[in-house]
Amino acid sequence: MRVDRLWLTDFRSYASAELQLAPGLTAVVGANGEGKTNLVEAIVFLATLGSFRGAPNDALVRLGAHQAVVRAEGERDGRALLIEAELAAGGRSRVLVNRQRLARTRDLLGALRVTVFAPDDLELVKGGPAERRRYLDDLLVAVDPRHDRTRSDLDRVLRQRNALLKQVGGRLDPDAAATLDVWDTRLATAGAALGRARRELVANLAPLLGSAYDAVASEAAEVHIVHASEWLDQGYAEVLAEGRAADVRRGLTLIGPHRDDVELSIGPMPARTHVSQGEQRSLAFALRMAGHTLVTAEVGSPPVLVLDDVFSELDSGRSDSLLEALPIGQTILTTAGRLPPGARPQLTVRVAGGDLTTDSPGVPPVGTA
């Protein structure tokens, strides 16, 4: 999977830009605020039709423009890949893959896969359970796009059940109870489907996470990842039945996949609260890397790797081991400062004042010196 060339029109800060990418490592260098991240955001947009920074879609269109266009030429499974996406200022998007219009956005998932490492990833370890659930669910979809439906079904059923719980206002008459029975059954099915998928994913992820952590951390340690969901062991339908009185009282579904957490620990220490920031950062990287390795193994080729401004946070030794530990594939890194000593880019793109200049070294570095 590879992106060779990228065109942007009215995307973020760019009125118009064209960018060539190396099959191996491309470095995007420029001062803060020049638009480095906007370039990689465009690649991520083609893969997910969203922003990895959590920006709403209409914020991706350049201020004052009617629509943004992102176009990329590349390769997938040995065949040419052309993805064209238009995003209207109103937020609606249209995508063509190899000049074929996609019937559903869901069909885009899997056309281009991207793994993003960003400074915000620290939140995966330090932040609340929602961050870790999103990490798991995004990874589920990356491994198997069908899980996009597993996830959206659960969201919808849960919203319906919560709306009903809110409406009954704490008292459940027999009519409302009969309706709630139906939503309980639907929720039990949808919730168990997502719970089982997450559990299987965590089981596959655990061994990869251990080796990924050892590769980036300054000292090796035993890392644990546990998907905490007692409701799944007990049977969700039973749990919902037992918890009904409490749910009715609170007007909310209190137990289920939407409350799951992924418990991370380094040795005996809970990673969220009891380890150093350096260790947390290493663990966040390890989570991304383990996900990347898993998708590579499941899909057969590595996703395009985006390292957005991550080296500013790492010392050179760990930067080098991170670079070494990554599966071989296309990598795009952005940095405001120096490149880590171990990085030998085939192409360097300099971003300044909205202009892109590319310099490639005379002889592409092949192998190691």
């Binding site: 709306a163 009519d175 939503w183």
Partner: protein, 201 residues
């Protein structure tokens, strides 16, 4: 916001309230209506008024009707003991096009969706139950949409009707006839596999 004077803006606003009509389409239709000959515009207005005056809901099945009963309920040739339960009147049109079904209908006028404040009380559920005995209904086909709300509605009705000792069935989901397997989306194909039947020759 409103750049047009009184009557024009009123027209645009009214059109914009229609389903599937956004502000731009509303504006285009309004200008079209203002441009066409008066007789044509008045004919449209009269069609709307007359439809609103004459068309009501069938007292029995809640399909659109002119008079107390709809065309299907007043047709003696229809099998009276089988009921096909649909969400909207337009779903009847879809089922009728199959020419496979000779029974009668019951229109719920929606599906259970707490988000939109729609529960069984807002639907014609009590009216459905009230038909079972007097009409001697022996089979109910649950023909709601195969989405989250439609499935929930079907499940709710199934639980309500099964104890009454009649046959309750749910329409199958599967592949479009005359299509190619390779073009089927994986969800539909998955459901079709789930609902496979043994091959009897």
């Amino acid at each position: 916001m409103s750049v047009y004077t009184g009557a024009v803006q009123d027209l645009i606003d009214e059109l914009g309230r229609l389903p599937g009509v956004g502000p731009k389409s509303a504006q285009r239709i309004a200008f079209h209506l203002l441009k066409i000959p008066t007789v044509d515009a008045v004919r449209l207005a009269r069609a709307i008024t007359e439809a609103k005056e004459r068309v009501t809901f069938c007292e029995r099945c809640f399909n659109l009707a002119e008079g107390t009963l709809c065309g299907i309920c007043s047709d003696d040739r229809r099998e009276p003991h089988v009921l096909c339960v649909v969400e909207e009147s337009r779903d009847i049109v879809a089922v009728e096009r199959t020419r496979e079904y000779r029974g009668r209908y019951h229109v719920l006028q929606g599906a259970i969706s707490p988000i939109e404040g729609i529960g069984p009380d807002q639907l014609k559920v009590k009216e459905l139950l009230a038909r079972i005995d007097p009409e001697g209904v022996t089979e109910v086909i649950l023909c709601t949409n195969p989405n989250i709300e439609g499935e929930a509605t079907a499940m709710y009705l199934g639980r309500l009707l099964s104890p009454l000792g009649l046959t309750v069935t749910r329409i199958a989901s599967g592949l479009p006839v005359g299509g190619d397997l390779e073009y089927a989306d994986e969800l539909t194909l998955g459901r079709a596999l789930e609902g496979r039947r043994s091959f009897d020759s």
